[in-house]
Amino acid sequence: MSLVNLAHVCSHMQNASKARLGLTSIPVSKMHVNIALGLQREGFLSSVTLGGPTPPQPFLLQKQPDPEEMDEMAETLQKEPWHAYPVEAEKQGKSVNWTERVLGKEQVHDVSVPENPARRRLWLGLKYWQNEPVLRNMKLISKPTRRIWLTSEDLGKITRTRESSYVKGLTHPGECMFITTDRGILEARECVERRLGGMALFRVWS
């Protein structure tokens, strides 16, 4: 697990948001994917797509369902809301997806991912709110030459804006910190909830 690549990602995200880019790409690795998904879960990113050297088709250019179809679906769901939870049913030896039959087929956009893993990129959609980037600062905490492991007690202090184990507290409003644990890459507050410790990766705030 190289933190050098993560450092590059951090710098790249800051530069991209300064340049007000809508979509940017980072190299693919398991850690990067998990980090991107974590950032998306925290609302810093609008989309995470695996793709090739060319950017994937933007959402607005993808084929959208008709508004009438959407209305129909909404009406059906209001009457029979249980269709929102898809259930596979057996009928005459065949599996039938009732949801698809009632609500219509879901539109899936296939993105062309190169066979060669070296040519794959992770495309991230950046967010902006009132002309300001949602993700403005992204900084490494552990460095390639100095890893920092934090216990859940440390993380409790840090999330309460106090300094612990030479890591400054999360004092900026809405600041997040990502930790790599044996249960995957998690946000610091989630780690505190689940009483997990791990290696601090980076902090991110706007």
Binding site: G43, K127, E132, T171, H172, P173, G174
Partner: protein, 428 residues
């Protein structure tokens, strides 16, 4: 030969002798010598004719008492008083009064010519009475309820009679008169309730009257109000002060009234002189940086520069008030999280702190925080500490804070302040 010689001596001028000349007098002052000055008499010489004319004019202006007047005086005054009046009259030369005396005609002249019938609070000492002037016993006691109500109604009637000497208007009244009547009823009752005669009672009516008599009061009376046309015109009310055109424009711009403008705390934090080098020479002017805040979440910074010091200061104050922007405050006391701002080579870091921490910052940031109404704050200026840039950076940091609600909205998260639930909403 020897005969001639004395003859020549005889005819020769004295100046030709070998006697030394008197040394020229040194003048010790620049003014002309006494001889050089034209001698003027200390008093203008008055010709006899003019004097006669003057005497006549004085006679006309200030005539002597004639017999009818003395007979009138004798009716009013005792012979000794008349003698005193006559002595006083003769002591003053009417001619002098005419030539040197001045009759004041300005609107501020005091009414000295007075028949002494009334006490004028401006020119006269106030009349005072001592306890010895009260006849009879001087004891009084607290009135019971019945006596009190009785006294109040009596005093209120007296007060009303003073307000309406011609009697209370009766019959159908228009709204304004009715309102005035109601007001005066109320005023009379209030005065009567506050009157000491209502609270205390006494067997001796004179002692009771003395309680409300201003001549017995130890309190100095209010300053008299000059009821004069000129005084009315020149009297300045606090609301109609001198109008500064710039202030007027500012008030129009803000949509405020003067009362609100007066509540703004203004302080000039930086002032120094700057020079503009032109080919004609240096032009020095003064630079001012002023902050303005209402101590309740509004803060502005303004700059001004002018050759005239007062002008530059005014400029900076006006621009500071015009530039006021809201400062978001957490719980009305501190900032939302830590802030950082860089202006030029100056970096200012502001840190939110718990309640009761105080403003532990350098003086410039302290002044800004006080004007904005912040109470708990710590700050660092790790780089340059240029005064102007520190103020600007702090102001920008405080006014461009990101609110948690905004951040949550930007990230698509739901944010709930649980303290509003737990503490019944009794938080800021």
């Amino acid at each position: 030969m020897s005969v001639c010689r004395p003859a020549r001596c005889l005819f020769a001028k004295a100046t030709c002798t070998t006697l030394p000349k008197a040394a020229p007098q040194r003048s010790f002052q620049t003014s002309a010598s006494r001889q050089g000055r034209k001698r003027r008499p200390h008093y203008p010489s008055i010709k006899a004719d003019d004097l006669k004319l003057l005497n006549e004019a004085a006679e006309v202006e200030y005539p002597k008492y004639d017999t009818t007047e003395t007979s009138l005086l004798s009716k009013k005054y005792t012979p000794s008083q008349i003698a005193a009046i006559k002595a006083a009259e003769s002591a003053i030369d009417t001619r002098d009064v005419l030539t040197q005396g001045q009759q004041r005609t300005d609107p501020w002249l005091l009414p000295y010519e007075d028949d002494m019938a009334e006490v004028d609070p401006v020119t006269d000492n106030r009349p005072r009475l001592t306890p010895d002037d009260i006849p009879g016993k001087k004891t009084f006691r607290l009135a019971n309820d019945v006596e009190r109500d009785e006294a109040i109604s009596r005093i209120a009637n007296e007060n009303l009679a003073k307000m309406y000497p011609d009697g209370i208007p009766e019959g159908a009244l228009d709204a304004a008169t009715e309102q005035r009547l109601q007001d005066s009823f109320e005023a009379a009752l209030t005065q009567a309730t506050l009157d000491p005669r209502a609270t205390y009672t006494s067997r001796n009516p004179a002692a009771l009257e003395a309680l409300a008599d201003p001549r017995h009061s130890a309190v100095m009376p209010d300053l008299p109000r000059l009821e004069n046309r000129m005084a009315r015109q020149t009297r300045r009310l606090s609301t109609e002060e001198e109008e500064d055109p710039r202030q007027k424009r500012l008030l129009q711009y803000l949509g405020w009234d003067k009362q609100k403008l007066r509540s703004i705390r203004v302080k000039t934090l930086v002032s120094h002189s700057v020079t503009n080098q032109t080919r004609m020479g240096k032009i020095r002017s003064l630079y001012y940086l002023t902050i303005a805040g209402n101590q309740d979440g509004l803060l502005g910074v303004g700059e001004g520069k002018s050759v005239e010091p007062e002008e530059g200061r005014k400029q900076s104050i006006m621009s500071a008030i015009r530039n006021m922007r809201p400062v978001p405050r957490h719980e009305n006391r501190t900032t939302f999280g830590d802030l950082e701002r860089k202006v030029g080579a100056t970096k200012v870091q502001l840190f939110a702190r718990p309640p009761g921490f105080g403003l532990r910052t350098q003086h410039l940031i302290f002044e800004l925080a006080r004007a904005a109404g912040l109470q708990d704050l710590a700050a660092k200026t790790p780089r340059s500490r240029n005064k102007m840039n520190v103020i600007k950076a702090t102001w920008e940091a405080l006014t461009s804070q990101k609110l948690p609600d905004e951040i949550a909205r930007a990230r698509g998260k739901k944010l709930v302040d649980v303290r509003k639930v737990y503490y019944g909403g009794s938080v800021h």
